[in-house]
């Protein structure tokens, strides 16, 4: 059975000037111990979706559909149950590690906090656990006595991961965990996340705009555009051989060094992401699509099978699959 199941999830923000649909009917599932990458540009709804998994959205957001964590609907949980779930079963690692830590408290206290709050440990045991966690994320135990400003960006991100691991959750949601980091430090943090998934059987949902990073860490990828999943499938297949023109544009944005095709030829996507309050008719990607047909402006294509365990929401995919 899958650990996490999203069933037709829609999220709408209610603001003064009307309703903003941020996520429109997303269905995804994640097996225990698997890693799913969610890609998309800012405004695609990927972060909103991540926040909704633990019901961390602001009050003006309306969530529809069902989010099942281990068969239990997160949206229907009582407050007390939700609090328990937030640390013990699923925890989140935010982007921008410098703001996630309290600058005037020691690292150790901050990591131990969820343990003490949830009565999972006595102060003595918590100290031991903190040392263990720090070691797991590759930091020496004496770092527990440091303040956040004494750590570098990469070390702070490691601390954030240690905090997420504190209550041994089964699912970690990582929202752009490496965006602000340098290449080398990013590689270190990604290696750490990969190890955690592989060795401890933790499930992972990772969110990023960098398809290459996701393909590196995750088994499966889902690409979001304008609040919808436009393609999903095994990550290397989606990255190397995308079926949806938007996924291929995202994949081409990060060239392979040494590939003569991309030399002196940066690939980009024209136009801007659509305004969620005024989405284009038909396929919402068609104004920017390099291979759009006339019918795309009126025809809204659903996800269509595009090979084994793959699907893409594009008229070209449907055409190919219909004519064997």
């Amino acid at each position: 059975m899958s650990l996490l199941e999203l069933d037709d999830v829609s999220i709408t923000y209610r603001i003064a000037s009307g309703d903003v649909p941020a996520v429109r009917g997303v269905s995804l599932s994640l097996d225990a111990g698997a890693a799913l990458g969610v890609a998309g540009e800012s405004g695609s709804g990927k972060s909103t979706l991540a926040m909704a998994l633990l019901r961390l959205l602001p009050r003006d957001a309306r969530v529809g559909g069902r989010i099942l964590l281990d068969g239990e609907d997160v949206l229907a949980m009582k407050w007390g149950r939700l609090r328990a779930v937030r640390w013990a079963e699923a925890s989140i690692v935010f982007q921008g590690a410098q703001h996630g830590l309290n600058p005037v408290r020691r690292i150790g206290e901050q990591i131990a906090e969820p343990l003490l709050v949830h009565d999972l440990a006595k102060p003595d045991g918590a100290r031991k656990r903190v040392a263990e966690l720090l070691e797991q994320v590759g930091l020496p135990a004496w770092r527990a006595r440091s303040y956040p400003h004494e750590l570098s960006g990469g070390q702070r991100q490691r601390v954030m991961i240690a905090m997420a691991l504190a209550c041994s959750p089964r699912l970690i949601v990582a929202d752009e965990p490496t965006t602000a980091l340098d290449v080398m430090v990013q590689a270190q943090v990604l290696a750490l996340i990969k190890d955690l998934v592989a060795e401890r059987g933790i499930s992972l949902i990772m969110i990023s705009h960098d398809l290459s990073v996701l393909a590196d860490v995750c088994d499966r990828l889902a690409v979001m555009y304008a609040g919808r999943v436009v393609e999903h499938g095994p990550s290397h297949e989606v990255f190397r051989d995308a079926r949806h023109p938007y996924s291929s544009a995202l994949a081409a944005a990060f060239p392979t060094v040494g590939d003569p095709v991309s030399r002196m030829a940066p690939k980009g996507l024209g136009g801007d992401p659509p305004d969620p309050m005024a989405l284009p008719t038909g396929c919402s990607f068609h104004p920017r699509c390099p291979v759009a047909l006339d019918e795309c402006s009126s025809l809204d294509v659903e996800l269509w099978p595009a090979g084994e365990r793959r699907a893409a929401a594009c008229v070209h995919v449907r055409a190919k699959e219909e004519t064997p």
Partner: protein, 346 residues
């Protein structure tokens, strides 16, 4: 506005090997006090950007690449060494600097922060021409916006930055620089804070500007893919010094310095990873010998000892690399294991 220039093609964009150096750093050093010690942010750098050439300056944060860029712009004074533009040493007097601003312009990483939220697009682009008292402000602004790909320009005049997308904001910043009709653009991580899909568009714009206007560029980045996408030459910086430089094809397909090799290996889809441990060391405590030796995977694995250079790695300083266009590397091991050493090296 009619646009009749042909699209950029690979052959025309590739640079000839010998170009006159337009902007040059000669044995540049920049130090500043940091927590009671001297930080040697730039510790002896020779670097040249030729006419119509795009050079990528690659390195991790804290390696001094941004300080080097700021010094080349005249925003920071060198402790020693000199910045040369068009053969003449840069004069830090306020009048000379103001004239220099019309030749060398800046594009920053964060387009949102680079634009005053209270200024319209028109005001933001007109800022340079107004400072320099250029005539025909409206035409200059319209042309700069069109060049930066915001067409028709009139439609953007009265927009405020918060009404634009990230990519459009960066185009406004680029248009603001173009309004002064510069010869060199110094871009500090120009696409790092932009979405993946916009990234390629901005890079393509820089290539197009080079083709249409002959604009040279120094692009400061941590992204080797970017260097591969647009640069003619690449210089890899580590802890205040350039450790390897040369034509992009050469350096990025056959890196010689262990640090460049490590950077290449952490790119996605690279076969074997060399993840260096630790953070880049502190510019207030630059190690003796080769500055990279403490993190060097070649030294750690014993390959340097096999080549018989391990003692030199730990104790012998390396010379400052010259600014010439050929490939250079500052590494005892690379020089020892290569059969034919480069002309000036060793």
């Amino acid at each position: 506005m009619t646009e009749t220039q042909p699209a950029a093609d690979t052959a025309a964009a590739t640079a000839p090997a010998t170009r006159r150096a337009l902007l040059e750093a000669r044995d540049l050093r920049v130090e500043f006090p940091s927590r009671g010690r001297r930080a040697r942010a730039v510790d002896g750098v020779n670097l040249a950007v030729g006419e119509g050439e795009i050079v990528a300056l690659v390195g991790e944060s804290g390696c001094g690449k941004t300080t080097l860029a700021r010094t080349l712009l005249g925003l920071e004074r060198p402790t020693s060494g000199e910045v040369r533009y068009d053969g003449a040493v840069l004069d830090h007097g306020s009048k000379a600097l103001k004239a220099y601003r019309r030749e060398v312009q800046l594009v920053l990483q964060d387009p949102t922060g680079s634009l005053n939220p209270r200024h319209t697009v028109y005001e933001a682009v007109a800022e340079g021409p107004r400072i320099h008292g250029l005539a025909g402000e409206r035409e200059i602004v319209a042309e700069a916006l069109a060049r930066a790909g915001l067409r028709p320009p009139e439609r953007f005049f009265l927009r405020y930055p918060h009404e634009l997308s990230g990519g459009q904001r960066q185009r406004v910043v680029i248009a603001g620089a173009l309004a002064l009709n510069p010869k060199v653009l110094i871009a500090d991580e120009p696409v790092a804070s932009l979405d993946a899909s916009v990234r390629g568009e901005i890079l393509a714009l820089m290539l197009k500007l080079r083709q249409d206007l002959g604009l040279s560029a120094l692009v400061v980045t941590h992204d080797l893919g970017l260097a591969w996408n647009i640069a003619d030459r690449v210089a890899v910086m580590y802890l205040g010094r350039i450790v390897e430089s040369g034509p992009v094809e050469q350096v990025l397909t056959a890196p010689r310095h262990p640090y460049t090799q490590a950077l290449m290996s952490v790119l996605p889809e690279s076969p074997e990873r060399v993840v260096l441990t630790g953070e880049p060391p502190d510019p207030t405590r630059i190690p003796g010998g080769c500055r990279f030796h403490a993190r060097c995977q070649v030294l750690a694995s014993g390959r340097a000892a096999e080549a018989g250079v391990d003692a030199r790695c730990r104790s012998e300083l390396l010379d400052v690399l010259p600014a010439t266009p050929e490939a250079h590397v500052a590494c005892h091991w690379a020089r020892a294991v290569e059969p034919a050493p480069e002309g000036a090296g060793a």
